[in-house]
């Protein structure tokens, strides 16, 4: 193995491990500020370091510090301490590990070697995700059972029944999708979606399988235990459900696991239905060919976007009450300077791309970077949908939840398989 090999292995694994972790902070922030804006409040905006509140991101640091230094209580009535402590670890680990098979850029070709841009370059692909997502619920059941608490127990049971119900439509929705793509490998699926339908529509999963998308998204929400399917927590009737006995970092690990799961399932949805890392109409080969024009467009677009963004910051980051010598305006000025600095650096990088020979390693890395950025952007938007749905829809009743799973989604997914099968057979 050459040094490049080792470097790329390290890069890919660290991307697969750390990006979900970083996104915990982003998602918590997005959830809380998003909730605020959805409800005409402002969300967390007070915690600061030397007056810098980073739009509320500093609140996450404060929360983390609090959770780390809180007393870690293991209630006296708990008999199986090992399982009690092990349960949050399962939830967290499965969520992080299931991201490992998601491709975040097209296969990188350096010299005569190609590198699959996945943390674990395996062919099992979507099956790995299904297996681990199903396994995550063991953590919840174990937590509920080990808590020796009736609320915890009920929460765990609810989660178990819910996951069983929704894994079936989810799996069936995938079956029709697999019939279309003809592969279980997520990398190949993403590449497949780089094609164009009738020459002008990107051949994304959402175009080919609209019904499959709806079924899969609903089931994915249920699998991630997010509203409107978060009956396992059900604070109105179960206090906090399966994590009612958990405190401090053990609770935080559940919480982080939930957000990682949300990120991972967003990434899977994006990969399966929204073209993964593909930029519409610009698949990898096209990008490599047109790298320089794209760079030029970006060079022009970046300052314009930054100009409007700076204006928005200047307008938003002020105190909304009578305050002489408003420190938030100074804060905003600092942010804008920093961001202009970032833009300048990016311009320099783009310039370097322009000056480098076309079709070389630099171009390919540039393309990979563009794809990574596209992938993360799409995933973030999908995460936003999660947040959006959470603050729009009320929670289901438990019988409604089961009814939806068995009486609606299951027949629909079966129907989808038949239609897809017929079409696939007809086309081939």
């Amino acid at each position: 193995m050459s040094n490049v090999d080792i470097l790329l292995v390290i890069l890919r694994v660290s991307f697969g491990a750390f990006v979900p972790l970083c996104f915990i902070a982003v998602l918590v922030w997005m959830e809380r500020r998003g909730a605020g804006f959805f409800q005409d409040r402002s969300g967390p905006n007070r915690a600061n370091i030397f007056g810098f509140r980073a739009a509320g991101l500093v609140q996450n640091l404060a929360d983390a510090a609090k959770l780390i230094f809180k007393e870690d209580v293991v209630p006296g009535h708990i008999k199986h301490k090992f399982y009690f402590i092990f349960a949050p670890a399962i939830v967290f680990f499965t969520a992080v590990a299931s991201f490992a098979v998601v491709p975040f850029a097209d296969t990188l070709v350096i010299g005569d070697k190609s590198y699959v841009m996945q943390a674990i370059p395996t062919d099992v692909g979507i099956l790995w995700f299904l297996a681990l997502a199903g396994f995550a619920v063991y953590g919840i059941i174990l937590a509920g059972w080990a808590s020796t608490n009736k609320y915890g127990m009920l929460g765990g049971l609810r989660a178990a029944a819910q996951v069983i119900s929704y894994e079936i439509p989810m799996g069936l929705a995938l079956v029709s999708l697999l019939a279309v793509y003809g592969t279980v490998n997520l990398s190949e699926m993403a590449q497949f979606q780089g094609q164009l339908l009738f020459g002008f529509i990107p051949m994304w999963g959402v175009i080919l399988q609209p019904l499959g998308l709806i079924i899969f998204v609903v089931a994915a929400f249920a699998e991630a235990n997010r509203t409107p399917f978060d009956l396992a927590e059900g604070e109105s009737e179960l206090v906090a459900g399966f994590h009612v006995e958990y405190s401090a970092m053990k609770f935080a690990v559940f919480f982080m696991g939930e957000y990682v799961a949300m990120f991972t399932s967003s990434a899977i949805i994006v990969t399966l239905f929204f073209g993964g890392y593909q930029i519409p109409w610009l698949n990898t080969e096209t990008l490599v060919v047109y790298a320089k024009p794209v760079a030029v467009v970006l060079m022009l677009l970046l300052p314009v976007l930054m100009y409007y963004f700076a204006g928005w910051i200047r307008k938003s980051n002020v105190s909304h009450y009578d305050r002489p010598n408003d420190p938030r305006r100074r804060e905003a000025a600092v942010y804008i300077k920093i961001l202009w600095g970032v833009v300048a650096i990016m311009e320099l990088i783009l310039l370097a791309i322009l000056l480098s020979p076309s079709g070389g390693v630099a171009t390919r890395i540039f393309v990979a970077e563009l794809q990574i950025a596209t992938f993360l952007l799409k995933t973030t938007l999908m995460c936003f949908v999660y947040v959006w749905v959470r603050w729009t829809l009320p929670r289901f009743r438990y019988d409604q939840l089961q009814k939806l799973g068995w009486q609606t989604l299951l027949p629909l997914s079966l129907l989808n398989i038949f239609i897809t099968g017929a079409v696939v057979v007809a086309v081939s």
Partner: protein, 174 residues
């Protein structure tokens, strides 16, 4: 069925409503409208920037208690225990003593209110035959580092001034 019964058609029977998904999207449109509005212009959020912006306290607001005094500074309370008797949370603790000025026979030598137990119902104010206890200090935010400090005594209660003019206070119920 009598004439007064009004039959209201049950909502949610049309096909798009039964499909649920359409209604979900409508709801998401509404909530996104709020999100987008607030994202673009966060000056229109329905929030008060507490503590920089303090709420306006009306004379009817029941804040922390105080004991009123006569013009010469002597306390109006005669330790009749009506407030303590009426207090549903039993947070008032009075000790009575002999009063030596000419106003009355009795006065409180100890008058403690446990603000942690107080539920701010205002029964003490209504029960007082001497208008000696009022909740018009306008103090609504009470924070201390230990429980003992939440026990306010006679001196503090008598020293706190009212937040309103006598006229405003008397008119509060009207």
């Amino acid at each position: 069925m009598s004439a007064k019964v009004k039959v209201v058609k049950r909502k949610g029977d049309t096909l798009p409503e039964k499909l649920y998904l359409v209604e979900v999207l409508k709801g998401m449109k509404t909530s996104f409208g709020h999100f987008w509005r607030n994202l673009r212009d966060n000056s229109r959020l329905y929030v008060r920037h507490y503590p920089e912006q303090q709420p306006e306290i009306t004379p009817r607001w029941r804040g922390r208690h105080r004991l009123t005094t006569h013009e010469d500074g002597s306390i109006k309370c005669v330790a009749c225990f009506m407030c303590q008797t009426n207090c549903p949370s039993r947070c008032i603790m009075i000790e009575a003593g002999e009063r030596l000025d000419d106003r009355d026979e009795k006065l409180p030598v100890r008058f403690d209110i446990d603000l942690l137990e107080c539920i701010y119902c205002g029964y003490c104010v209504e029960a007082c035959p001497k208008d000696a206890i009022r909740m018009d200090t306008g103090i609504f935010s009470l924070v201390e580092h230990n429980r003992e400090k939440m026990l306010v005594g006679l001196d503090e209660l008598a020293a706190t001034p009212g937040a309103f003019t006598e006229d405003d206070y008397q008119k509060r119920g009207l």
